[in-house]
Symmetry: D2
Subunit: 147 residues, 4 copies
């Protein structure tokens, strides 16, 4: 089994709320950053994809379980695992981990803490009529190589 | 059966993305606005609750299915239905509907369109140690009256 | 002198940060909601404007002074005053006031508190080439009537 | 003269709006990320600062001029220059540059494009009563070394 793709995210003021933790909706942003960089690691740029193939990815469903909070200045690691691959859709399992060593909470040590688990379903659509479209061959090949 | 609580939300630039539609993560914000106003309709103010009872609500899990997009200037209606009530947790079923009559897309007429369905699980916790706490009697009574 | 247009905004979790107050960047969102609703009060819908006249408004500059913080559940009032009107640009003076009566801080009474003052410059541009364009006559007439 | 501190920021869907560009308010977030990382480059962590010195930084005013738009997938470079240093306040001049080489717009070549210029004034305050407080010696020393 391959290791999951991982992308670092730092928590800034913009990400937090008055409860003193990362606002739960923002994990969807963090998950998307990780998926985007995972695609980029395969040479796939979504802007170029739109221009050259007239397709874009849209999120069909999201499901997130929140296990523990993240705070200002925490370092997170966001992972990407492909759970299911269709011709025009992909289902991801993603996790957010706290891996920081330098924050006020660092007394907890270097053991990563699982913060949130997400299941995100994405569809490839024609960017003009929004109908499902088979993913371009390059994208499909990259994803298959990740499974 | 009671009618669902509904709260109006207008789509502004801040809510949209370069795909021309409301960014999917923002439905979690819209859902929360509706839950907050639903509580307020029962005389419950979360800031006061924190100050007087030392409790706060935290989101444990979210699951959203996206059915159709919303666009700039659309008028949405966000609904709140209690699906399950525990002593220290509540599970909601929420929907986002497009109900606009004045936008560029109004040619579609006045028939509401279902945009997104969410299932949001919220827990009542002690705001100092974040451990589960039974909801204050006033809150419990209000929610029971809504089922 | 006319009274300034005012638009109510409620503070939700999404608007706050770990400092316990509204995140300063979000006042730009509140200001824009007020400008949008001010235009709508004159029968002007920006989506329709884009479709019928191929123009859109873009923000050229923003300057905000922060005087006092807003907190969760506060009720704000956002005002819109036109300071300068050109053929293809408008300059606004906008203010955010706290006017809440029901929050935990309401002991301060009903005297509005000035939270932030903004000066926002907006240009009307062709939505295809982004070049300055004279505002449509309907828009110009509405704005002139507000000065 | 020293070279300005620079921090890379990538544009994701979350940053854009239906106009096809980065939503203007988000430059304030980008500027803050750069200031935060600039402090961190000097060994200063704002969470630790709050815990050990009971102080925090609050934004007093922001002024941003927008020169050119950024789009999805663009690579930005955010700079930080100290313009004025007081005992309890700092004034920054910050810029956002587009430096991408891999996006759909890369035909424009590798010449950086200035997107936005900001002037941000920040105050050091007691985190309990929010009154101005002289910056801790470590912070002052770091900033002086950057001028």
């Amino acid at each position: 089994m391959r290791e999951a793709f991982a992308w670092p995210v730092r928590v800034y003021y913009e990400d937090t709320d008055t409860g003193g933790v990362v606002f739960y909706a923002n994990y969807l942003k963090f998950f998307e950053r990780a998926r985007t960089e995972w695609l980029r690691s395969g040479g796939i740029n979504q802007s170029l994809l739109a221009d050259t193939h007239d397709v874009m990815f849209v999120v069909m469903s999201t499901a997130v379980d929140y296990h523990a909070p993240a705070k200002l200045d925490n370092e997170l690691k966001l992972t990407v695992v492909v759970e299911r691959l269709g011709r025009a859709s992909v289902e991801f399992q993603q996790q957010a981990w706290r891996v920081d060593t330098g924050s006020a909470d660092a007394a907890h040590g270097a053991i990563p803490i699982l913060l949130a688990t997400g299941r995100i379903k994405v569809a490839c659509v024609d960017r003009h009529n929004m109908r499902p479209r088979a993913m371009p061959a390059q994208v499909l090949a990259f994803i298959k190589g990740c499974i």
